[in-house]
């Protein structure tokens, strides 16, 4: 593999608090990750840990306070909206809320034609063929073309959202919890659709989710986020079999069944990032070094890295 398709380097982002005063909310502090062509990177973490912010910075819908965003080798961190416009064709987004993601005043046809027209990709017959092809790709029946979003089911709406992302034939899609709002049966259909599309179109995904099973099913690699930092990255199989970070371990322990004891490990507010390891208050293994020094994301294998003083020790201490 040559250069990565996407490279995020030491990204930080803080938001001003809602109503005057107070410290800014630090959503991301020093996040680095790469996505290769055709690769699906799963991004897991609890609500409010900065997953969606990261996705939006990657798409350059937000400007990071610090760090660089590279797409296909080009540093796009400081590009203006106008400069970014041609690049938009190559990276797209699918949202969780299919109601909010579609303009309620546009029919499916209008919503899918608009990107083609704006980017002058197809008109007339060519555009019609393109719509047919898109509908087939996402498994929507052609009689839905003249419906409005509120006349569609949740699953159908999500398919329209995916079809719209595909109109420009992107190389990367940021999928922000694309199935979380759907019924379980529909969820599976949409996930399989995303998987099929990844294979047939050589798409790369940043797949954002809090659902471990879903991430495991779709991803080549998984990054685990906690409080604005990536605490562990590893190939999917390795991460699920031998989780290195205590937070990953806690997540996995909580995932399989509704066992209250196990769940307790993860319960707790997402702390504001502080010096030292932000997970130490919840960590069963925390020791003095964790309070003093922030653990850096350190490579532990070819594609794996973890940010933890405890797991980086040669013989982990139980405590």
């Amino acid at each position: 593999m040559s250069t990565a398709l996407v490279e995020l380097c030491d990204i930080a982002k803080a938001f001003a608090p809602r109503r005057g005063g107070g410290a800014p909310i630090r959503a991301l502090c020093g996040v680095s990750l790469t996505i290769a062509r055709g690769e699906t990177l799963g991004l897991v973490g609890e609500s409010g840990c900065g997953k969606s912010t990261l996705g939006r910075i990657l798409l350059r819908l937000l400007v990071p306070d610090r760090g660089r965003v590279r797409f296909d080798g080009a540093d796009i961190t400081d590009w203006s909206p106008r400069q970014l416009r041609p690049l938009r064709r190559r990276m797209q987004v699918v949202f969780q809320d299919s109601v909010g993601a579609l303009n309620p005043r546009l029919t499916v046809r209008a919503a899918l034609l608009e990107p083609l027209t704006v980017h002058r990709l197809a008109t007339g017959d060519a555009a019609r063929r393109r719509l047919d092809e898109l509908l087939r790709a996402v498994g929507l029946s052609p009689d839905r073309l003249d419906r409005y979003p509120h006349e569609l089911s949740g699953g159908e709406r999500q398919r329209v959202g995916i079809a719209r992302a595909l109109t420009l034939q992107p190389e990367l899609i940021v999928a922000d919890e694309p199935a979380s709002a759907l019924d379980v049966s529909v969820q599976a259909q949409v996930l399989n659709l995303l998987l099929d599309l990844a294979e047939s179109r050589a798409l790369a995904y940043l797949f954002i989710s809090h659902d471990l099973a879903v991430v495991r099913y779709l991803s080549h690699r998984v990054a685990v986020m906690f409080a604005g930092r990536i605490v562990e990255v590893a190939p999917t199989a390795a991460l699920f079999e031998t989780p290195a970070h205590p937070y990953t371990q806690a997540l996995l322990a909580a995932a399989p069944g509704p066992r209250a004891a196990a769940l307790n490990v993860v319960v707790g507010a997402t702390p504001a990032p502080t010096p030292g390891c932000s997970y130490r208050d919840r960590c069963p293994h925390a020791f003095d070094r964790c309070a003093a020094e922030e653990p850096a994301l350190t490579a532990t294998g070819a594609e794996a890295a973890v940010a933890c003083h405890w797991s980086a020790r040669p013989t982990p201490l139980r405590g």
Binding site: P81, N103, E114
Partner: protein, 336 residues
């Protein structure tokens, strides 16, 4: 789940739903009636006949075309001077709005000749009332058009661009809202040398844009955060396309409601101005102007009651329609 606030609704649906509501059923026909009266004023009241055969020559609609040959004639003079074989079809009210009836006293009460009496210049009140609806409608429509355009552009800009531009527009609109509109209008009209209908329209628009701007700004702020707008940015659409294709159409419902209420308040404001003698000049019939004519001659009740009732009914019709429209277009109020 997010609340579904914006729902596409077709124009036919809006009219159907309007007529299902008591307010809409009363208001909408009133609005339509006013428009009909205003557009056909020349047919309802004119000093020239609708059809005239004079000396073997047939004049079609001289009330509209005002042929040179008939300059010296009016319905009244024709009634007196017509020879045998001549005939005419007179409009419902056979008086022009500026025609002074020499055979009648000034300020004469309603009679069979002048159904709503005459004003201080021997002019037919009903004819002036009918033609006055044009001023009301024109002032209302045009000032609302300018108000909406101005308010929408400023509100969209403030809401979408944000930052110092938003601060400037927001403070300006708050200042405008804080000052009572009528005083502002009077102040401006006092400065303007030649106050005509055009000046009235501009001044009303100038003091009304702020409410629309605030409304559109709030809608823009709400819509800007919606994911379909984010998706539009991600799809590489231009800012102009996002504003006018994605945000504005979804903000149209409240704008429409505010335009309907704006009509009522513009009509009322124009009437107030003309009543105070600052608005429409006397050569144009206007409802406020008729009321103005009643000042100093209070026994002429017909100069107070009829224009007053016309203003009341019109404002009422627009407000009822606006209320019904808001109920239909705002789902938060729909299930009350």
């Amino acid at each position: 789940m997010s609340t579904i606030r914006t729902v596409a609704i077709s124009t036919t649906d809006v009219f159907r739903l309007l007529l299902q509501r008591r307010g809409g059923r009363a208001g909408l026909p009133g609005v339509v009636l006013l428009v009909l009266i205003a557009t056909s004023a020349d047919f309802l009241a004119s000093d020239k006949p609708l059809l005239l055969s004079l000396g073997g020559h047939l004049y079609v609609l001289p009330n509209l075309f005002d042929p040179v040959a008939l300059t010296a004639h009016s319905n009244q003079s024709l009634f007196r001077t017509m020879a045998a074989g001549d005939w005419l079809v007179a409009p419902l009210v056979p008086f022009g709005m500026n025609e002074q009836d020499k055979d009648e006293l000034p300020l004469s009460p309603p009679s069979t000749r002048h159904l709503l009496g005459t004003d201080g210049a021997r002019r037919d009140v009903l004819a002036r009332l009918i033609h006055g609806s044009r001023i009301s409608l024109a002032v209302g429509l045009l000032s609302v058009l300018i108000t909406i355009t101005l308010g929408t552009v400023l509100g969209l800009t403030a809401g979408f661009v944000g930052g110092p531009i938003d601060a400037v527009i927001s403070r300006a609109s708050e200042t405008m809202i804080a000052v009572p509109a009528l005083f502002l209008v009077l102040a401006v009209m006092g400065v303007v040398e030649q106050a005509g209908v055009g000046a009235t329209i501009l001044v009303i628009a100038l003091v009304s844009w702020a409410r629309v701007a605030r409304l559109v700004r709030a809608e823009t702020l709400r819509l800007r955060e919606m994911e379909f707008v984010t998706a539009a940015v991600a799809l590489g659409f231009s800012t102009r396309r996002i504003l006018f294709h994605h945000i504005l159409p979804n903000a149209m419902a409240p704008i429409l409601v505010s335009a309907t209420f704006g009509m009522a308040s513009a009509i009322l404001m124009e009437a107030s101005l003309s009543f105070l003698g600052f608005g429409t000049p006397d050569s144009h019939a206007s409802w406020g102007g008729l009321l103005h004519g009643a000042m100093g001659s209070f026994h002429a009740w017909w100069l107070v009651i009829f224009p007053g009732a016309a203003i009341f009914a019109t404002v009422m019709a627009y407000n009822l329609t606006g209320d019904a429209l808001r109920d239909i277009l705002d789902p938060r109020l729909r299930h009350e």
